[in-house]
């Protein structure tokens, strides 16, 4: 999303805790810890020397001194498992370290510097990827000797491109985004921003990739042993697995232990990686019990006196399901009305619940969020408890949405024209040519000077202000009666802000629209709003005409809000990370 992630350190401790709270994360971390500890303590835990063989006793079952029995050479399976883990896991660690050391710095450099450095690095990476792995492995083995360490170093080098590509891709993407950012936030050097952001963004994928590469390294050892490209006489789980396979008729049970060690380790690695990723990127599986049924609509629509015909909200509550199964209410009983031809400002700080209120009217609350109680009527129709399909029919036609961040709200893969035409063709059922004509009209209407060019452009080819106009055009495309604008000017610079507000105002007047303008910017309110509702902590604390609220606020919170604006009076409100919007 558009928000800057909070400082890495703060999130990291949270991530660790989140991983351990996730039962799978905790379980796999525990299993791995036990395995690593056991392998490290092999000299203490092993019943005997892993190479001590007694052919007479080979294939012996579990007994005193040999808890897991003996292998085909009469060596103690438990001891070999413990010592074998050293070469196996040590080898995997080595492969990962080599891959990280070779792939990550190169990826950072190539992604950040771009140009020739990038081209050169890419060529080398293509070379490594195209190298026939088997030939390289076999040749290095023949030259350097058949040990697990040689195989793992070679493997590390061969998989380094995976890290390189991953890091390079992310860094290149972040760099492009941050040039915009860096220009906005003056004072911080671009390098420092990139470094800080890169660390945060790249960390998660690298951890996951690391776990996967470790798993691949362990699996590959086993595969190579099977092909007869073994790692000499040192015990490894792969060698044990292969030995068991070679004697599968004689002692079918022997395959269990190395198979289990290998499988458990790999499974734990993948699960831990998944838990880490979910914690870092915050996309864990939500408890996702069935979405709670919305309450049946309370009062009959329009019956109650004082409710506006266009939009009327009464006693609305919004809640989010938490990971532990409980739910947390973020909006507590909001009342709100918007009449046709009226601009209502919904004002409040970040986290006050204003965006949640707007989203529940549109029916686009994010995952886990739901309307708990209350009534919302749009053009007299109750939408709380309305089936999704019927609710969807209102969106676009009756109520439309203008988002905050223009760039991130356009699909980067489609042209502006395609994105404008799609809802019209779908909702209004008009022909392609007709949709095209109307889309160009819309672009003209939002005061875009070269509609044809913008129509054929991709979002990354137009400016932020232009994109916001396109989004306004999109909102107007199916001729709605109610417009919900969520901080429509916040992401724009001052000049453009004024233009966009003017445009909104003009459209509202010409078409007699009702507008719910969600904003934290009292200057905007003063400019365009007829009435204002001030929101704080999920509640409306004051509702009145704009004049009244701005000149004579009654609620202490409103007064504080106004005071802050007057004291600092920034040209444009400083952007703040908003926990509410990142949900």
């Amino acid at each position: 999303m558009s928000e800057t992630p909070p400082p890495a350190a703060a999130r990291r401790s949270g991530a660790a805790r989140r991983v351990l709270r996730n039962p799978l994360g905790l379980g796999s971390a525990l299993v791995l810890a036990v395995i690593v500890a056991a392998v490290l303590l092999a000299p203490v835990l092993s019943p005997q020397d892993p190479d001590l063989a007694s052919l007479r006793d080979s294939f012996g079952g579990p007994g005193p001194g040999h808890p897991l029995g003996l292998d085909s050479a009469g060596r103690d399976i438990a001891s070999r498992l413990l010592y074998g883990g050293r070469a196996t896991l040590g080898g995997a660690v080595l492969a990962v370290l080599v891959a990280l050391a070779a792939g990550v710095p190169a990826g950072l450099l190539a992604g950040y510097r771009g140009g020739r450095v990038d081209a050169a690095a890419n060529w080398v990476v293509n070379l490594v990827m195209a190298l026939p792995a088997m030939v390289v492995l076999l040749a290095c083995r023949a030259i350097l000797g058949p040990t697990v360490w040689v195989l793992m170093v070679v493997l590390g080098l061969l998989v380094a491109p995976a890290f390189f590509r991953l890091v390079r891709g992310i860094v290149a993407g972040v760099r492009n985004e941050l040039y915009v950012d860096a220009a906005r936030v003056s004072g911080l050097s671009g390098t420092r921003i990139v470094a800080r952001h890169v660390l945060v963004v790249v960390r998660g994928p690298i951890i996951i990739q690391t776990a996967l590469v470790a798993g691949i390294a362990i699996g590959l050892q086993a595969g190579l042993e099977f092909l007869g490209i073994g790692s000499g006489s040192a015990p490894t789980w792969g060698a044990m697995l292969n030995e068991a396979f070679k004697n599968i008729q004689r002692a079918p049970g022997m395959i269990v232990w190395p198979g289990l060690a290998l499988g458990l380790t790999n499974a734990s690695l993948v699960l831990l990686a998944a838990a880490l990723r979910d914690a870092l990127e915050d996309r864990g599986t939500p408890p996702a019990r069935r979405r709670p049924r919305p309450p049946k609509a309370a009062p009959p629509p329009g019956g109650e006196p004082g409710r506006a015909g266009l939009l009327s909200v009464r006693g609305l509550t919004v809640a989010y399901a938490l990971a532990d199964g409980r739910s947390k209410q973020v909006v507590h009983g909001v009342d709100l009305d918007v009449r046709a031809g009226e601009i209502v400002g919904l004002v409040g700080e970040s986290g006050s619940g204003k965006t949640q209120t707007a989203f529940s009217i549109l029916g686009i609350l994010p995952e886990g969020g739901h309307v708990g109680a209350g009534s919302v009527t749009v053009e007299g129709l109750e939408i709380v408890g309305l089936p999704e399909r019927a609710h969807r029919a209102l969106r676009g036609n009756a109520v439309a949405y203008i988002p905050q961040e223009p760039m991130s709200n356009l699909d980067p893969s489609f042209t502006v024209g395609a994105q404008l035409m799609e809802p019209m063709r779908h909702r209004l059922g008009i022909s392609r040519a007709e949709a095209r004509r109307r889309a160009l009209d819309l672009l003209r209407m939002v005061e875009i000077t070269e509609p044809e060019r913008v129509f054929g452009s991709y979002p990354h080819e137009i400016s932020g202000g232009m994109a916001q106009r396109v989004l306004i055009a999109g909102a107007m495309s199916c001729d709605p009666g109610l417009l919900i604008a969520d901080e429509p000017t916040t992401a724009l610079d001052v000049m453009v802000q004024a233009e966009v507000l003017g445009l909104l105002r003009r459209l509202q007047r010409e078409r007699g629209l009702g507008v719910l303008l969600v904003t934290h910017d009292l200057g905007v309110v003063a400019d365009v709003c007829d009435r204002v509702a001030v929101m704080h902590d999920g509640r409306i604390v004051e509702t009145d005409t704009a004049e009244q609220v701005l000149s004579d606020p009654r609620d202490p919170y409103t007064r504080r809000l106004l005071g802050a604006v007057l004291d600092h009076a920034p040209a444009r409100a400083p952007w703040q990370p908003a926990a509410e919007e990142t949900v």
Partner: protein, 313 residues
């Protein structure tokens, strides 16, 4: 676009040259004593020396490489030291086997991963857990064990499919399908495990994008948003994973080829490299490089087509 493809092809040609030299060097450094391998360990030393001389192994490596290159650019890849067959023919008869295998695996992996990944990413909850578990199983189980179980169950016990061998597509289509099904199944499991996770992650990421919310706010139905917008944006990372998977397949197909007795280039690479049959391996190396370059090119073009931003960068 044409310019891009041309540049990439030129880079590929340079790559081919560099890798051929590196490989020749790597193959020549360990002295595999090809002569003795050919004549058996009991052969007299003078005969072995004569055999090595006959193969040109008494000459310095750069000279041998130059010789090989001079013939190779004219399309003459020589004959195998160990089976006497024409190298082009030898690789030509085995390439279709591995190619069938890989195309089959890519199709199955792409299709199944897409279904599972999207299902998990959109539905979340139990579906998500199930797909994640499948992924874990795919990673945790050693590939050759899975393959062995598949052969024993579906070929030996149930007799639904042949246990070994390959029937060419041109010989018989049903025969080809029946010989290729189990190997493709065995190889796809790990691929599906990896790629479906990638698709799931990408779908979840895209679903959280602001523009998806805006599309919902425009009243578009979820299915349309999913198929038109989410999948298209999620495709690039999935394609990249798939192309990496392909490169990996070139290596991992050897296990499956051996167990199913498939005469493909995977098992060929291992057997001929351990023996040191340089003419054959060099041809295999060339084929591998061409395949990798081609697949990467195709994937990059596809990604460019799907994602206009990558196109202009």
């Amino acid at each position: 676009m044409l310019n891009f493809v041309a540049r990439r092809l030129a880079a590929g040609a340079v790559l081919l040259f560099v890798i051929s030299f590196l490989s020749y060097l790597l193959l020549s450094v360990p002295h595999l004593d090809v002569g003795r391998q050919l004549l058996g360990s009991g052969a007299a030393q003078d005969l072995v020396d004569a055999k090595n001389a006959e193969l040109g192994l008494d000459r310095p490596v750069p000279a041998r490489y130059a010789d090989w290159l001079a013939h190779a650019v004219r399309g003459d890849l020589g004959t195998s030291w160990f089976t006497g067959e024409d190298v082009r023919q030898a690789v030509g008869t085995r390439l279709p086997v591995t190619a069938s295998l890989m195309i089959g695996v890519l199709l199955v992996t792409a299709a199944v991963s897409l279904l599972l990944g999207v299902w998990a990413g959109v539905r979340r909850g139990p579906a998500d857990r199930l797909v994640q578990m499948l992924g874990v199983a795919g990673y945790a189980l050693p590939g050759f064990l899975v393959t062995l179980v598949i052969v024993v169950v579906f070929a030996v016990r149930l007799g639904w499919f042949p246990a070994i061998g390959y029937t060419g597509l041109t010989e018989s289509v049903p025969g080809w399908l029946s010989t290729i099904t189990l190997p493709v199944l065995s190889l796809s499991l790990a691929g599906v495990a990896g790629v479906s996770q990638q698709v799931r992650g990408a779908v979840i990421d895209v679903l959280r994008q602001d523009y998806v919310r805006t599309l919902r706010a425009r009243g578009l139905p979820p299915s349309r948003i999913l198929f038109r917008h989410v999948l298209r944006n999620a495709a690039a990372p999935a394609l990249t994973t798939l192309s990496l998977q392909f490169v990996g397949l070139l290596g991992s197909s050897v296990l499956v080829e051996q167990i199913f007795g498939l005469p493909g280039i995977g098992s060929m690479t291992v057997t001929y490299t351990t023996r040191g049959d340089i003419p054959v391996i060099m041809a295999l190396v060339m084929v591998t490089v061409v395949l990798v370059v081609a697949v990467n090119l195709v994937v990059d073009v596809l990604i460019g087509w799907l994602n206009p931003r990558a196109r202009s960068v």
